[in-house]
Symmetry: C2
Subunit: 238 residues, 2 copies
């Protein structure tokens, strides 16, 4: 079974939802038969590269919240993160364009290090408040994840590298009806939206597992017609 | 959308069903969004490599048919092939173990030449009655398909090369409930068994296309809860 998770590094519910999903997955009997794939989704694709702003200020400005409301929202999210055992600092975090880190996550996927880079990037952004919008930090994270520094720098310097992979993920998210993240897709058949409690994920995995049976189409009356098997070929009327 | 087709080169309904599927696909509006993948299935995996027998004799011996009955079965299949514009010779064709050609098809997949090799192998076996159980013929087919001769020979000489890929395909066929081929799986959601008329495939493709919508799980009452989107993060009660 395959679970694809659309998310953004800048998305706190993705950070928290990933931990809850993993807890839900650990409680699922067939967890060893589940392949998890990260998919790209940008919360703020229209923001120029390098244009960063403190999160609290951005929340206040973009969504018309007072500074106190923005701080209360962050505190609420932080308490959810802490409940999952995740670090979350509510001050000093920057918001920005995440296209480069998504490109880097696709390089990491090609090199078998995507899970490592994803965890490091989330922790850097939310727990350590290192800026994931800064090239030197991205290079350091890539190297920590086990990637080759020269290759990481080359990908970051070439804006077309893995750009199509990011855009393709985003097109698929739109086709699947996802307008927010995290968005979990099980076998391209079931969708779970949001950083739900772990039990929701366990239940969704169980339902998707049961639902794996194929629906037969075009069978008519003779389901063996015009097939060959170990016992020979079915020939109508023979 | 992805269509996986389990088949065997030794299977006449696979040869005919592939042509019917392609005709059905050509009539499907979203044909350019369909990716087709070949999957391995052996009709006679227990037969030793190199142990070949004339098809008519095998049909008579294995399934207890008289020579006339075997000939009538082949004639029926041949008339179906001819209706699809495919060559089909009913005499002189050999039956045997197809493990090596499936391994070679996986090499061809890795080199982007699987479709070419598949068509050449079917034609060799059914229309030209070249023995696809013979190493020199397999090498010639591989080269005709655009593969490197040295690499083809190396794969054929090493019985472990791509063997896991063939076995993995066969395990998945069993998991999906396929005990005969051709077996068509659309988006791992719908199954069509047998070399059905082209219209059946067009209809199945249309139904699978409509059925692509995800079934939401675990939504509860607030479907936007604990997600982030371009308009910010949903915070319960905020």
């Amino acid at each position: 079974m395959r679970v694809e998770i659309w998310s953004d590094i800048a998305c706190p519910w993705c950070y928290i939802g990933k931990a809850r999903f993993e807890k839900g997955l650990a409680a699922f009997a067939h967890r060893d038969d589940v392949e998890v794939v990260h998919r790209s989704f940008e919360l703020d694709p229209g923001r120029a590269k390098g244009d960063t702003a403190p999160v609290l200020e951005m929340l206040a400005k973009k969504y018309g919240r007072t500074p106190d409301e923005a701080r209360a929202m962050e505190a609420h999210v932080a308490s959810n993160a802490h409940s999952e055992g995740l670090g979350y600092r509510t001050e000093g975090r920057d918001h920005g364009n995440t296209f480069d880190i998504h490109r880097l996550l696709h390089l990491a996927k090609a090199r078998g290090r995507q899970g490592e880079l994803l965890d490091l990037a989330y922790r850097a952004n939310f727990a350590e408040e290192r800026s994931v919008f800064d090239t030197d930090t991205l290079v350091a994270l890539g190297v920590e994840a086990g990637l080759d520094e020269t290759e990481v720098r080359a990908v970051l310097a070439d804006e077309t590298a893995y750009a199509d992979d990011v855009r393709q993920d985003e097109r698929e998210a739109a086709e699947l009806g996802a307008d927010g993240v995290p968005f979990f897709v099980l076998d391209r058949r079931y969708g779970v939206s949001g950083g739900r409690p772990a039990e929701v994920f366990t239940q969704a995995l169980e339902q998707a597992w049961k639902g794996r049976a194929l629906q037969p189409l075009g069978t008519g009356t003779d389901v063996d017609a015009e097939t060959c098997g170990p016992d020979g070929c079915e020939v109508p009327g023979a």
